[in-house]
Every structure is written in structure tokens, then in C-alpha cells.
Symmetry: C2
Subunit: 347 residues, 2 copies
């Protein structure tokens, strides 16, 4: 009664390509047409193809475990990234260990130790808000465990590793430009901590849009928050005591924008009539607020897919160098994913 | 320069108890005062005590991996449960593999296979919306992998396993009672799929509260949804075409309540003036809506902590039976956690 398990032969037959092409696609080889690869992986997922983990692991001494470190478990954005990671890795027979740093550099270091202890084949990580050093990432590399950083990166790190981010400059630029096109003139920016790369980039985009449109940027319109959740109230207070109040606010991300909307509404300020609010994240939740939140969509799931792909590429390149008796020379790779505007009611 | 790693001796000294008590607490033994256990685990967490995973694993042939299966990755409630699971298991040296069923019974079965493949020491699972059979849970038991079900259980399953739920009857009862106390009379209930145990229980609580207060329940005030996200619009439509519209709505959970609020506002219906809305979940997000959502708080983190505790208890009991050459007799255990009202602006 048991259904026969699908094999790579089934996939080859259905796509009318060679078994070896399927096998290479599934092993994540680099010398293969990306479209073909995608077709193979999609079909593999669809028909439920799964490598025999134990057999494969025993033969190759691999664990077929990939570690994923995210800053927070309860942020939907990271849930969406993980969906993309799974979409790429599951058909290849990998499973995920998901750990979180609770936005703390110290815990993030422990996460790396846990994953190395578990002998994962690779690590995907999004850094905590307060991570200042890349020594723990270097440690993984020294143990020959490849690592890919997504979304939250260290800007000044010179570690030769792949990084996947959205185009944060463009996100800040488009958010601000959208408000300018709508006729808003005094546009404020609620930023993150000064050291946070995504905040720096989005702020740069904001400044550029303001300057290109002849508005200039006054320092009092730019206020920082210390983290995603706390201190949004304080930041907003600074804007609301200004003699000339802003007529629009760009928030670093959607969770901050949700809080800004709530606080403005508590003060009886109409959105967008008195002050427009703009987020950056593309959280589904934004659709449910009243007014619904205009935002810049980040392709979270695609980010996970691309990051996982880069990790497998790196693993294969390391293996190939080893097979050829060569020293593996790691390279830095930057992938920037495009963003798009979701216009709703808050602007 | 390296800080000395804390040991169980440090914990014993600081709590002024014996090393063997600490060891038993950390191994999760059952014959120990729960308060002492909690003190030990809290301190272990605080000072960063961590069993050497590999050493411990090699000696005991355990993997020190626990599998967690949740229905959806992007639901904050489950993120909070996982925090509680980690809080209990990390000090004991366990790591988690988190997988998700995407609310599909078939994928849930695959999740069990993946975790058994990985030779996890135990499994914590919250069932998908459409899971109808417990054969996959039985399979884990047959492989001597203990299993604990939390939040979403199969009501009619006779498997002798531990289950942790909130008091869903009480949640429905208190939600409805709160509205009655506020003066609402025609109270509707937006339920989940008919088979869903938590929905049945909450609905029962709703009915009981209505009847005890002399309102009775008319069938047209109870409308089902097919899942958490879709079909809320249709359910609401059914209520809004009634001759006598409801003056308050209890939603099965907060995500449904958020959608109900949005849809009412799109129709220009004021909340709570025209219709009050009540959720059940206690999502933090509810505080940010306008109006903020009154809800029944579920102790998500505590649920995770208790479920993990029950799992370790079961593992220990199985081991002890084995040591004594006895057959292990599994028992069903039900833990119901208490809920509480969070009153906000939507009622």
C-alpha cells in the first residue's frame, strides 16, 4: 500500500533531461543552468523527492544539517526568510536547526558554538542589533563551516563571505520619494541604532531623496530608536515638540511604523491627513491596520532562497578545491535584492 | 583570558544544596522539589552553565536534540511557546530542531519522519488545522521516541501521551462573560473548522456563558472559518446580513479578530460603539491596533516550558523502566493552563 518514493530518475524523465543533470542540480552544483536547476528543485519539492538523509550522511560524513541564526523568533519577516531557506534546502535533503540570538551579541556567539557542536554543514545568520564584531563568524570559517549572512550584516567586516541584503539605500530612497510625490514636505525619519547598517543605508536613501528634491534635511527631523520595540515613544516625542512638526514620517521598519501609528492616534492625530506614516518591511500585518500601512516590500522569502543557494555554492566550491588538492580561496559576495512599493492608506 | 566554564559545583555552592540534587535537577529527574528544580535551572541559565553536548551524547548515545513541530512559522504565538521550550531545555544541554507543517497533515507526517531520521530524543508537536489521525504520533512512540502535544491536540486520540493546552472552554466562557458584563446582548462567535478541538471548546464556553446569562444561542450567530487567515470575510458577511445584527463578536483567536476589526472599519462600523470585538490569544500586536484589541491571554511561554518539562519527565521515566528491566507503561496526561483577561479598547 505504501506509495513508492520518488527518485531522481522520475524527475529526469518528467523534465526530459539527464539523470546526471538532475543529480547535479540536486547536489547544488554550480555549472548548471539556473533555470534548469529551479525546474528540478521545484519538481523535486512538488513530488516529494527526498534524499535518504542517513545514507547520504554516512557516505559523505556530512550531517545534512544547516544552522540558521535569527535575531528574534517572533518577527514574521524572519519566518518568511526561513520559508525561502527551506524551499531551497529541503529538496536537497537538508534539515534546519533554528536558533535565535535574542538581539544580543553574546547569545549570538553561543549560537555559533551550539551549531559547531552539532557539526552543521553550514550556517545562515542574520546579525543581532548590537553585534559589533565578526570574530564568531571567523571562528566558523576556521572550522571549515561555510557561513552566509543575510539581511543584517556588519558593514565594515572584511570577512570574505557571501551576504544577501535588500537594497536598503533604495528602500529609504523610494519610501521618501513616494511621500514627496504625494506632496509631503517636512518628512521625518525614525532610524535605528547608529551602528546598524540597514539603518545607515535607509537613512542615506532618505537624505538623497530629500536633497535631490530640494528639501535638504534638518537634523531635528532624524531621530534614532535603540531597538525594534522600545524607545519609539521617545523618538516620536522629539518630533512632536518641534515648532514645525513633520507632515510625514518614514519609519525604519514596519514594527516601528505600527507603533508610530498607534502613538499618533492616541494623540488624536489623523493619519494620513495630519501626518502620513510610511514603513519599510512589507509585513502582511500592515494590511490590517486602520489605516493600512504603506510600506516598501522586502522579498523575504526570496532572500532566504538566495542565501541558501549561496551557501550550497560555497560548500560545493570548498569541496571541489579539496578534491583537487587546492587551498580554497573564499571571496566576498554581495547580493542586493530589489524592493518595491506597496501603497496603502497611511500616506 | 578565557572565563572558566561554570560547573554544577558552582550551582550547588551558590544555592547551598548538594551537587547530586543539582545534577538530578539538571538531568530532569522527577523525584525533586519543583521549586528547587526551578531555582537550579534559573541559575544554570543565568551563569551560562552548559553540559558538554558531545561528551554527554557520546556517553549516553543520546542526540540531545529535541524536535519541535509547529503549524506555522510566522505566528507569534508559536514563537513565544518556543521561547518557553528553550528556557527549559537549554540549561539541560538540549538543542532544538524546529520544523513546520504549514497546516497540512501530510507535511506534518513528513516532519515526524525527518525528526526520527535525525534521531531526536523527543518530539514536541502542535497539530495542524487539518490533522485527523494520530498514526504518525504512534509511529514515534513505536520507535521509543517520547512525544508531547501542545496547544492543538486531537480530542479523540487515545494515545497515552502528555498534552498541554490552555483552558479553552474557560477562554470562550470568560471572553463571552466579559462582553455580557459590558452590556452586550447579541454576541456572535466566529469559530474555526468544526473538527478543531480548541474551536469546539471555546464555542462550548461561549454557549455556556450565553445560556447561564439567559441569552440562549441562536445558530445564526455562530459562523465558522476554514482556517486562520482565509474566509474571515465570508464569515463576517453572514453576520452582517442578519436582520438583527450582532452587537459584539468573539473571534476564535487574535489573528481572526484583527481581520474582523479591519473589515468592520472598511464598512464604516465603529468599534466598540456599534460592534465590540474580542480576541483570544494575547498577541502583543493587539495593543497597537486602533482600537486596541481586548483579548484572553494564553500563557504561551509557560505552555512551552511545561510541555518541555513533561517531555523530559517522560524520557526519564522510560529510561528508569529500562534500567530496571521493566516494560514502560505510558500514561495520558492533560495539563490545562489558566488564562486571563486583557481588557483594552475594542469592547
Amino acid at each position: 500500500m505504501k506509495k513508492r518514493k520518488p527518485t531522481i530518475k522520475d524527475i529526469a524523465r518528467r523534465l526530459d533531461i539527464s539523470v546526471s543533470t538532475v543529480s547535479r542540480a540536486i547536489r547544488g552544483a554550480e555549472d548548471i543552468n539556473p533555470m534548469t536547476k529551479k525546474k528540478v528543485l521545484d519538481l523535486a519539492e512538488k513530488i516529494g523527492y527526498k534524499k535518504s538523509v542517513l545514507a547520504a550522511g554516512l557516505a559523505s560524513k556530512k550531517s545534512y544539517l544547516i544552522g540558521v541564526i535569527i535575531p528574534e523568533l517572533t518577527v514574521p519577516f524572519f519566518g518568511r526568510v526561513i520559508l525561502g531557506i527551506e524551499q531551497f534546502l529541503k529538496p536537497l535533503g537538508y534539515d534546519l536547526i533554528i536558533v535565535h540570538s535574542d538581539e544580543q551579541e553574546q547569545k549570538e556567539k553561543e549560537c555559533i558554538d551550539i551549531l559547531l557542536d552539532r557539526q552543521v554543514d553550514g550556517i545562515l545568520i542574520s546579525l543581532s542589533f548590537n553585534t559589533k564584531s565578526d570574530l564568531h563568524l571567523r571562528k566558523a570559517m576556521e572550522e571549515e563551516v561555510p557561513i552566509v549572512v543575510f539581511d543584517r550584516i556588519l558593514p565594515n567586516s572584511e570577512l570574505p563571505i557571501p551576504r544577501v541584503i535588500v537594497d536598503d539605500f533604495e528602500a529609504g530612497y523610494q519610501a521618501t520619494n513616494h511621500l514627496i510625490n504625494k506632496g509631503y514636505k517636512r518628512i521625518a525619519f525614525i532610524a535605528g541604532p547608529e551602528d546598524l547598517y540597514i539603518s545607515q543605508q535607509r537613512l542615506k536613501g532618505y537624505r538623497t531623496a530629500m536633497e535631490r528634491n530640494g528639501f535638504g534635511t534638518s537634523a531635528d527631523l532624524i531621530v534614532p530608536t535603540l531597538d525594534l520595540r522600545r524607545s519609539v515613544g521617545k523618538a516620536l516625542d522629539k518630533l512632536m515638540v518641534l515648532k514645525e512638526k513633520p507632515d510625514a514620517i518614514v519609519a525604519l521598519n514596519d514594527p516601528i511604523a505600527f507603533r508610530v501609528m498607534r502613538l499618533l492616534q492616541k494623540r488624536g492625530i489623523e493619519i494620513p491627513e495630519k501626518i502620513a506614516v510610511m514603513g519599510i518591511s512589507g509585513d502582511d500585518m500592515g494590511e490590517l491596520f486602520n489605516p493600512s500601512l504603506t510600506t516598501i516590500d522586502q522579498p523575504a522569502q526570496e532572500m532566504g532562497f538566495v542565501a541558501a543557494n549561496l551557501l550550497i555554492d560555497r560548500m560545493n566550491a570548498m569541496k571541489e578545491a579539496k578534491n583537487q588538492g587546492k587551498v580554497f580561496i573564499p571571496m566576498a559576495i554581495f547580493k542586493k535584492l530589489p524592493i518595491s512599493l506597496i501603497e496603502r492608506e497611511s500616506t
